[in-house]
Amino acid sequence: MALDEQESRPPPVTIWRDAEDPAFILYTSGSTGAPKGVVHVIGGYMVHVGETMKEAFNVKAGDVTFCTADVGWITGHSYLVYGPLLNGCTSILYEGKPDYPNASRLWEICDKYRAKVLYTAPTVIRSLKKQGDEWVTKTKRDSLEILGTVGEPIGESAWTWFHDVVGEGKLPIVDTWWQTETGGHVILSLPNVGEQKPGRCGLPFYGCIPAILDPQTGKELDGPNVEGLLALKPPALPGMFRDIYKNHERYVKSYFQEIDGYYVSGDGARRDEDGQYYITGRVDDVINCSGHRIGTAEVENALARNVFVTEAAVVGIPSEIKGQELFAFCSLREDIQFLKEKAELKSSKYTPEQLIVRDLMDTCAKEIGSFAKPTGGILLLQPGTGIPKTRSGKLVRRVLRKIAKGDLTGDFGDLSAVANPESIQCIIQAKKKANEAEN
């Protein structure tokens, strides 16, 4: 058999490839349409990831690093696999959940293997914080020298807990902002460079120039104390993605043509008087839920494929642990009175609404994955209600977001662009009814 042959074969010849040949594809969600296959190349990615690993975490050969990200995301690729191996480090690959069998697990792993660097996500930190300090304090954590975070802005309270309780006030917190598209770190707080401040992401890595753009005019805002869209301008970082797989047009259009001459990241940021950056979160229709990047369009398409639903809108609402949660508005295909007659919706335990909601949750899990369930809530809308849209057919997410968060005052500012403003009142009524039913 062929496998036996492999046993006796000499090791394969290393294929030397051009630095600009593709190394891997990694799919990520965008604000519209299907997921994008981000293409990274061999040479630039290698140098960028190897060097950022070294600078950010201060590692040398033989150091033990522990990155808790899943290998299926870019953080896993860059700082669980390639970064540590390029630097001769030992990388801990932990299969399970951070709180299984209990909330000490991560710290126990750090102790067991004498990890020097722990690189994790704010959502993990928040969920472990909630379980109480004793899970942390009963472990030693004396091998740790650097704590890193990635995935979303780390709020002040999570930062403080991470710094004071986990790091006992002694360890530098390296916050990092970067994306699937950038391949490696872009903005970060290098250990011991400048003063530490909770919630502050840090300074640009070598060789890159971030820019803050005015969201209305697209003009670059110079100087300190400005806030707007976070973009990058040349020179490029070597680890920057080179293309969207088989779709160069989309690459150019969705990242570089929104504002000509800049790579527009989709995140918002503020620059303070020291030139340090604070990340304020997504400015487009992408939701960051437990560090997973979820495109609202993807979830909307999934929901709309459900048999009970004709149209769906998904927005993000704030969540204490996950950062953001998905909230969905779904227009029903038929009046709920008719649906009640359907055999599959007859149950002694659950109302038809509950059964539909459950079915919609399953749809999301099936089409995308269980992390894409609208756990923030699903509001079912009677047929004919409609979802507020502009005349060009774009969902008015601003209003939907407010309603999802529980703002039912109906005071949503200028609605002149909305083609069907009457739908807003209907939705508010539906939400009120749902709230009552819940109570």
Partner: protein, 373 residues
């Protein structure tokens, strides 16, 4: 413009590595030096990189005044301070240089710290190792670094470290979930072991799966050491890996397989998290079905075996008859349903501690049958 390269490679690495402890940093640099010096006596080598390592730095031409402006160099070699303000100053100086001369900045690091097939020819003579255009009005948007330089990620991750003397150092420590009646599994792969395993898989990909440089290999794998083995195997042979998060559903996986036009799929039997076991093989089979309906066929698959309580295991059933018998025994004498019995032709073999399912001509349900025993 000639490329700016410092005279001594080890100083470069030491100079700008900010550290929480300066003392430790210098030790680190010295240790690296020793490691490097001893590397030539190591037996385990591939000749190419060895040649590269042995190129004396002086061949590279004179050093230039670059980021290593003399004042910084003197200061950092001897006096290393923990003072964040001092470090900030050093950062700023290096940052200013990096954005003024990005091409030289990155080429220097690329040259110093990584292996390239044509390292000297390329980095000594190449003036255009970095270019980009972010403005579509001025032509095509693109980013380019080190075009024309030849390298290999697996070589840089594994062989380069092995040559430095890190062959027996652990590369990956695996800590299992430890739930689901599963034996506790902690596994360490040293750099040599990781190379050995990934080489074997690379051979399998080349000779059995017919993977060519530039081909896409989909990896639907959970957090197990095999995922690193697979990534390294792909990198070694110039294949493009497309790792799909193992929490994605069959639909999402199928979408990513089809979009990336992958013909080869590497997967695992199970995924374990929080005491729960997820049967990945079922998701894979379903995804393949979806692909097939949409006119895309997976031609070759490799499955890493990680069944409950199964590592290491030596007595896997090898033939269809054995599988059927085992099933019958487990399920109180019941025969397997006919829908399944037609399916498998896969043969499992122990494979350097990994278990691969070889499945050249399998139908969609090959997995289901083997794993439902």
């Amino acid at each position: 413009m000639t490329l700016m390269l410092p005279a001594s490679s080890t100083t470069t690495t030491a100079v700008f590595r900010s550290s929480s402890s300066g003392r430790r940093k210098n030790h680190g640099a010295k240790r690296m030096l020793r490691v490097r010096a001893s590397s030539s006596s190591e037996k385990e080598t591939q000749r190419r990189a060895k040649e590269e390592e042995e190129v004396p730095p002086s061949v590279l031409g004179p050093s230039h005044a670059t980021i290593h402006s003399s004042s910084v160099e003197k200061e950092t070699i001897e006096v290393v301070t923990d003072d964040p303000r001092e470090q900030l100053k050093r950062y700023q100086e290096k940052y200013r240089y990096s954005i003024r001369h990005p091409g030289a900045f990155w080429a220097e690091l690329a040259y110093e710290n990584y292996s390239w097939e044509n390292r000297d020819e390329f980095f000594k003579h190449n003036e255009h190792n970095e270019r980009e255009n972010f403005d579509a009005r001025k032509g095509d948007v693109n980013v380019e670094f080190f075009k024309g330089a030849k390298t290999n990620l697996a070589y840089n991750c594994l062989d380069r470290n092995i040559e430095k003397g890190l062959g027996d150092a652990p590369a990956i420590i695996f800590e299992s979930d430890e739930g689901f009646e599963r034996e506790k599994r902690c596994e360490t792969l040293t750099y040599l072991e990781l190379k050995e395993k990934s080489d074997k898989l690379a051979n399998h990909l080349i000779y059995v799966c017919n993977v060519k440089p530039g081909d896409v290999v989909v990896c639907y794998l959970p957090m197990i050491p095999e995922v690193v083995v697979t990534m390294m195997a792909c990198a070694r042979i110039g294949a493009v890996h497309n790792v799909v998060f193992a929490g994605y559903s069959a639909e999402a996986l199928a979408k990513r397989i089809i979009d990336s036009e992958a013909k080869v799929l590497v997967s695992a039997a199970m995924s374990y998290r929080g005491g729960k076991a997820i049967e990945l093989f079922k998701i894979v089979a379903e995804a393949e079905k979806i692909c097939e309906i949409q006119g895309h066929r997976i031609e070759e698959r490799v499955c890493h075996f990680n069944l409950p309580g199964s590592e290491p295991h030596t007595d896997w059933p090898k033939e269809k008859a054995e599988i059927l018998a085992a099933y019958k025994q487990r399920h109180g004498g019941n025969e397997m349903s006919p829908a399944w019995t037609d399916a498998p032709h896969g043969i499992m073999r122990p494979y350097y501690g990994l278990y691969l399912l070889e499945s050249r001509k399998l139908t969609l349900t090959y997995n289901s049958l083997l794993f439902l025993l």
